[in-house]
Structure formats: C-alpha cells, structure tokens
C-alpha cells in the first residue's frame, strides 16, 4: 500500500516503512544503540530526500529515547546533573548544526555533507569497535591480566569543577559540555542521536561508571533531538511527522524483540556484529561517493 508523505512529497510503500522501522528497532534493541545511523542512509536509499531524512530522524529518536529514558529513570541509572551539562552543550551544538545544515542545503551540498560525516564517523567508530572486540575475544580465550580502565589526567586539571554524585565524580564541566556540544552538531546534520559517540566518550574521557552511561546519554539525546526537531521544522521545513511516527511504531516494537534476542547472545559476539554492520554501512556510503553516479545532474525545484 502506497502512502504519500506530505512533507517529503514522495509516495512510499507503507509496509516498507514499517518494516525498516522494525528492523532498525530490532538492531537498536539488540545493540543498545539508537539506530539513527542505519535509518538515515536507508531512508535516503529508498528515495526520501536527504534533507527530509535527516530532519525526520530527530522526532523519531526523541520518541525512542523517551521510552528508554523512562525505563532508566525507574532504575535510577540516570545522572541527571551530568545529563544537564551534556544537554547544555547539546542544545548549543544543535543550534549551530541546524544553521550549518541550512547553509549547505542552500548550496546544494547537504548530501555530500551527510555522506562524508557518515563515512568518517562510522569508519572510525566501526573500525575501533572491531579491533577492540577482536582483542577482547582473543584475550578471553587465554587467561591474562585484565587491564584497568585508564582515566585521562588532563580532564582533571580543567577549571569549573562540579560534583556529580550519581557518577561519583568531581570533574570539570568543560569535557561533558564539549562532548554534548559535538554530539548536538552531529545530531542536527546526521539525523542521529549520537549515542555511538557519546557513550564511548563518557566512559573513556569523562570516566563515568558504565551503569549510568546509557541512561544519561538517552536523557540528553531525548532533549537534544526534541530541540533539533523544532529547529529543523522552523528553519528548514523538512520534518515529516507522518514518516517519523510510522518509523517510530516499527521501531518501538522492534526494539522489544531486539532486547529479547540480545539476552541470548554473548556480549563479544554482539559487539563484533555491530562493528561489522557499522563498517558495512560506511563502505556502502564511501563506495557511492567514489563510484561514478548514474547521472551527474540533479534537480531541485526552485532557485
């Protein structure tokens, strides 16, 4: 059944959209990632204009992370104070990200920007994850010393120190603010929540306990993507609510199944599978940038 999307102005198969939402939902439930990094390229592949695909991800991620945040709040695994510092940076980042997005879309370079960001970030993250999970797999086979997590010393020398009770930290507010800011920009121009950057950054740079990392990042993502939605809606007019809600319906259902599957798999296997998937999306996008396109010309209605 075809559905005409009012903002994207394209007619797409309803079941294809629900299916995409569900598949990405299953993956996000399995790996504990938002799945925006998979959904945005997939939406572009099926013919949604890139500007609409990116902007529409924002409300979709808001909804998904809201259900996640609720669950974490109940378990008290959200460091709200840390979340607010990350959020302050995130809101500023989103503001700048949407501005960059608007500016590049007027120049006709949005597609390039989105693709390049994806190739760079997915390549780096996927590569690092792959190497690390291979190492842990190798180490788990032969018994040896477990390396202690290193905390960066420079982080502790910065000014504006704050106490974060839930995370048992007394550190400068600058690193979380900067991380939030950076993720805010990415969220606005890539149509992602940014968990895949924020979670490792919170563990390795800020040194937060793993238990509160996911809840806190979801808390930040929820607010930042809500803000990004409003900015995209008022500045670029590219948020397709109908599309977002359909993807969300598929996504929330899929995520529940994903969570069930995840329990039955080993953590190392999950991480290798996720790393491979991230690398596959990265390679596909890189390939599309390098290979000669079918038609060198493209049209945009208006001037």
């Amino acid at each position: 059944m075809q559905l005409y999307l009012p903002i994207a102005e394209v007619s797409v198969n309803l079941f294809l959209l629900l299916g995409l939402g569900t598949i990405v939902g299953v993956l996000s439930g399995m790996f504990g990632v938002g799945g925006g990094f998979l959904l945005t390229p997939l939406l572009i592949f099926i013919g949604i204009p890139p500007a609409v695909a990116v902007a529409t991800q924002a409300p979709q991620i808001t909804g998904l992370s809201f259900s996640g945040t609720l669950a974490h709040l109940r378990r008290r695994t959200v460091d709200i104070k840390m979340g607010l510092v990350l959020l302050a940076g995130g809101l500023l980042g989103s503001l700048i990200g949407v501005r960059i997005f608007k500016w590049l879309s007027e120049m006709g370079q949005v597609e390039l920007l989105v693709s390049l960001c994806y190739v760079v970030f997915l390549g780096v993250i996927g590569g690092l994850m792959f190497i690390e999970s291979l190492n842990t797999l190798r180490k788990s086979r032969k018994p040896g010393t477990v390396k202690r997590r290193q905390r960066h010393v420079w982080v502790h020398r910065l000014p504006f120190k704050m106490r974060f009770r839930t995370s048992h930290l007394y550190i400068s507010a600058i690193p979380p603010f900067a991380i939030g800011f950076f993720v805010g920009i990415l969220s606005a121009i890539m149509g992602v929540g940014g968990g895949f950057i924020m979670v490792p950054a919170m563990i390795y740079i800020i040194g937060m306990p793993t238990a509160v990392v996911v809840g806190t990042s979801l808390f930040q993502i929820m607010f930042v993507t809500a803000f990004t939605t409003i900015l995209h809606a008022t500045q670029n007019y590219t948020v397709d609510t109908m599309l977002a809600l359909l993807l969300l319906v598929g996504g929330v259902v899929g995520a529940q199944f994903g969570a069930i599957i995840a329990v039955k798999m080993k953590a190392e296997q999950l991480r290798i599978a996720l790393a491979l998937m991230v690398l596959a999306v990265c390679l596909k996008l890189a390939f599309d940038l390098i290979v000669t396109p079918d038609d060198l010309y493209s049209l945009t209605v208006g001037t």
Binding site: Y4, I7, T62, G63, G302
Partner: protein, 254 residues
Amino acid sequence: MRAWVGALLLLASLGAARAEEVVASLSQNQVSITAFFDGSEIFVFGAVKRYSPPPADAGPLQVLVSIVGPIGPVTVRRKERVAGIWINTDEVIVDRAPYFYANASTVPVREMLSHTDQMRNQIGLPWLVDLRGAPEEIADPFDFRDAVVRLRSSEGLYSELPGAVRLVDETLFDVSVPLPANLVEGDYTARVFLTRDRQVVDSFETTIAVRRSGLEDWIYRLAQDQALIYGLLSVALALALGWAAAALFRYLRP
C-alpha cells in the same frame, strides 16, 4: 465603437474560416492528493463539430492532447570528481520548466504540426523547458537544460505519447493520460488541438486543479504556516508514542 465593430467582424471572419471546432471534456477537473494517493488518470474525450464537410484536398485531421503541470524555475547541479569523490560543482538555474508534461497525439507531433505552430502554441518540451541565461564560466549550459528533460522523463513526469489518442471517423476522440504518484500541488493546464495540414484548426483549454486534501493538506499547511506549532506537535506526538510503547511493554512483560 469602431473598434468593437472591427473586433466583431474579425471574430466572424475567424468563425467562417474555422469550419471545424473541438468540443472536449475531462473525466475530472480536480485531483486530490490524499494519504493513499498512488497516481491517477485523466481521461480526455471529445468530438469535432462541423458546419460543412472539410475541403476535399485537406489532409487528415489529427488530435493532440497536452497536459502541463505547474511551471517554475529548477536548479540543476552537476557533479564533478574532486579529490576522488563526486561533488556538486556547477549550478545552472533553468528559468522555466513544467513539473509535469504529457503530450498525447494521434501521430508524432512533428508530422501533425509545423514548427511555427508548435512555437506559437508552446507545444513540446523545446518551448516549455526554457533556459534564458547561465553563468559565464559554464561552457555547456544546454546540457543542464537537457538534464531536466532526461531526469524528469526517467521519473515518469515527462512523457510523449504519440499514437495514444484514439480518433474515430475524424469525429470522436479520447485518450487516457496517466498521472504519476509523485505529483505536486498546482494548477495543470489541459489543452486539446485539432490540426490539419500541420496547422492548428481549433483548440480547447481547461485547468485541472491538483490539491492536497484531508490530513495531507492539514499537515502541509501547518508545517508551512505554523512551523513552531508543527515542530512542538511533532515532538509531543513522538513523546506520546514513546511513552505509550514503554507503558504497553511494561504491562506485557512486568
């Protein structure tokens, strides 16, 4: 007063010269784009009204039906390989191009209509897709114009349908023109031409209003006119759905 008489006389003389008139109608003058819009079809039909038999030496009667969608400027960009990757570099604005174009006729257009009459009546893509000027540094601006025609043809938005019009006894004609699913809102012009000896004998023109309707229309207007409210509403709906999902699954799996 004299001008009026002159005009009336002119009209009368035209009427006399025009022994054949077209009477035509469309299956619909209004197309609604609803949520489940999956393309449509416009059925154009009509008859030829005659006051006297056509001259014996006249060529066969031909019919052309043209439907042209909202006309506006189009920005065309061309990719070039820069440092190994393909990047949009050159940009040309094609001043006027219809979004939708279908030219259905009994025989190919060049066989039924002179070049002059095609130009005079703006029939065919050479006249409708109009590039007036391009930046000086672009050596081949007409490639950009051709790209509009090529890309829109491949999307099913531009079509030439020679032989699609059925003409019975030089009197009754009909044709069905498909409208694709990726239609946009606007006023579309439908025109019917009767030709003999590569000259226009008579023509008929009407408008097809293509409009979003129902929910589609409401969402689109809200997003355009009340962007802030629309953004807030999008967030609220997403949150409500996220909360409902969480509540539902907590109930299902305590």
